[in-house]
Amino acid sequence: MTTSEASSATMVVQEGRPAQSVGGTVAADDVKMRVSGLDFYYGPKQSLFGISIQILTNRITAVIGPSGCGKSTFLRTLNRMYETVPHARAEGEILFDNEDLLSMDPVALRRRVGMVFQRPNPFPKSILDNIAYGLRVNGTHRGAALQEKVEKSLRRAALWDEVKDQLHKSAYALSVGQQQRLCIARALAVNPEVLLLDEPCSALDPIATAKIEELLYSLQDQCTLIIVTHNMQQAARVADFTGFFLLGKLIEYNKTEIIFKTPAKKETEDYITGRFG
């Protein structure tokens, strides 16, 4: 297997142990998050087994797999969202810019690692107050600076033109697709380094979906994106790298075109070609 340039990860399978990624010529600061041997438990039940993966900076990484394979669980370990569930625990190591993510201050972590959820969940406040929420909670209160940041986020989320005259209207007055872009804008307002997206388009129609996919491309150079999707075509369209999960294990992780055209493992191939899931 070849390693090319600075940003490819290759798969090496070692007997008996879960698949690991081999760095090769990857430069250290190109890896935004380095997950090693991540196990996850809901109480006594284990749902993630020895996940090891490297997420590269300013790239879009897709996580695919059939329902229940653990991809959402995995995503939610990256901003420690699982901590709202009692008896949920993560073991192993996740390095975020070489810091131990699992022992960081979760509040500080979540400012740097944002999340967009499966269904839009705007607050019952105005559009402006939704975007401003993250800013206010993290210290920005002054009127002018606030307004500027709100406008910037709405522009980044390609929503500004549609709502600039109705910033004080309730967020619930927007369509579902607009609400999701609002949630993306809200997450972007605090300038996260990483943005986690958990099936962001599953509640949306194809047009709204297309708008969001376009949006994701444009965000790439400022932000590392990790997107969980059950839609393989979406992963193929959007992502630079793709990881395939099955039953709580990371089966294969590589550049998207390799995963989709020449997958190394049979399970991957079976999933891609639609033999299950």
Binding site: G23, G37, E91, E93, L102, M104, D105, V107
Partner: protein, 326 residues
């Protein structure tokens, strides 16, 4: 690079230490503690209440012992206090209240749950729940000036004529007395019976009724023989709650019961309840023993209502769990 398994113990406790400090810094630990204290205040108040009731009646407890519960005299002048007339009055008026309120209430609940169309049911229930919000003193007001005279002029003579062979309905008719008190209590307690019974009846699964109807039962038969028995624990709970409420009712009762600490076989006679005597005598009780006896009465009432309420709550928990298991 290969991943090395990290020893769980060290990393985990390391992370817990970090989490603790982060909790302190973010203010979450403080918020948790502060709100916990507020919630715990309920426990504190309840314990303090029992304690104060107990500790402020110890002299009386020692003087009368268990005989307090069977003593028939209540004489502040000579310092002889016995609880029996009040326990009697409390139980009789409450029993009377239930006798009237339960058939009336369960009947109304059945109508509202099974027969009335949803909009009418909701509208009527709304009005009935407003009844529960009427202050006790208002019931008493109507009791003194409307109900008591009415019963003295029409109600009691009627009962005397028809059921006068029973000792319950003999003797002079004053209007104020245990019958009136029981009747007023019934009105006060009916909304609670209706509200809760209606809820449990509505929670009976549709397939129960359909099973009965499918076998050719009339709607009433399905209701009375299948639905109501299914909901019986919840209905029992509503009766218990109503009873607890009736036991503790003070103002309306003291305004119409006649305030006479005697035990009489006639319902027309005046009587006294625990709550009523405390309401009447507490503010003016000068002798320490008098006050203590009143507080001891309060302790008896407390025990009564706590037991009945506690049982009712457990029954309610049972019914809601049963419902959710279906």
């Amino acid at each position: 690079m290969a991943s090395t398994p990290i020893p769980t113990g060290r990393a985990a406790s390391n992370r817990r230490a970090h989490a603790f400090i982060q909790g302190l810094r973010s203010g979450d630990t403080f918020a948790h503690l502060f709100t916990l204290l507020c919630a715990a205040s309920i426990l504190l108040v309840t314990v303090a209440l029992v304690y104060e009731l107990y500790i402020n009646s110890t002299t009386a407890q020692h003087k009368f012992g268990l005989g307090f519960l069977t003593g028939r005299t209540w004489d502040p002048v000579s310092g002889d206090f016995g609880a029996l007339p009040f326990v009697y009055g409390t139980l009789v008026t409450s029993a009377l209240a239930l006798l009237v309120a339960v058939p009336l209430g369960v009947g109304a609940a059945i109508f509202l749950s099974e027969l009335a169309p949803p909009r009418i049911s909701n509208a009527l229930t709304f009005v009935i729940e407003l009844l529960a919000a009427v202050p006790s003193v208002i019931y008493g007001l109507l009791g003194i000036f409307i109900t008591a005279p009415f019963l003295r002029q029409y109600g009691e003579p009627f009962l005397k004529r028809t059921l006068g062979f029973l000792p319950l309905f003999q003797g002079p008719m004053y209007g104020v007395g245990m019958l009136t008190a029981g009747f007023v209590l019934a009105i006060m307690v009916v909304p609670f019976v209706i509200s809760l019974s209606r809820e449990v009846l509505m929670a009976v699964p549709v397939d129960q009724r359909e099973a009965a109807l499918g076998l050719g039962a009339t709607k009433w038969e399905s209701t009375w023989q299948v639905v109501v028995p299914y909901a019986r624990i919840g209905i029992m709970a509503s009766i218990f709650l109503a009873l607890a409420r009736a036991l503790g009712e003070t103002m309306a009762v003291t305004m119409v019961i006649g305030n006479d600490p005697r035990i009489s076989s006639s319902l027309f006679a005046p009587g006294y309840t625990i709550a009523a005597v405390i309401a009447n005598e507490f503010a003016e009780a000068t002798a320490d023993l008098h006050l203590q006896a009143l507080i001891e009465l309060g302790l008896v009432l407390f025990a009564l209502t706590i037991v009945i309420n506690g049982l009712a709550r457990i029954a309610i928990i049972f019914t809601t769990q049963k419902g959710s298991r279906q």
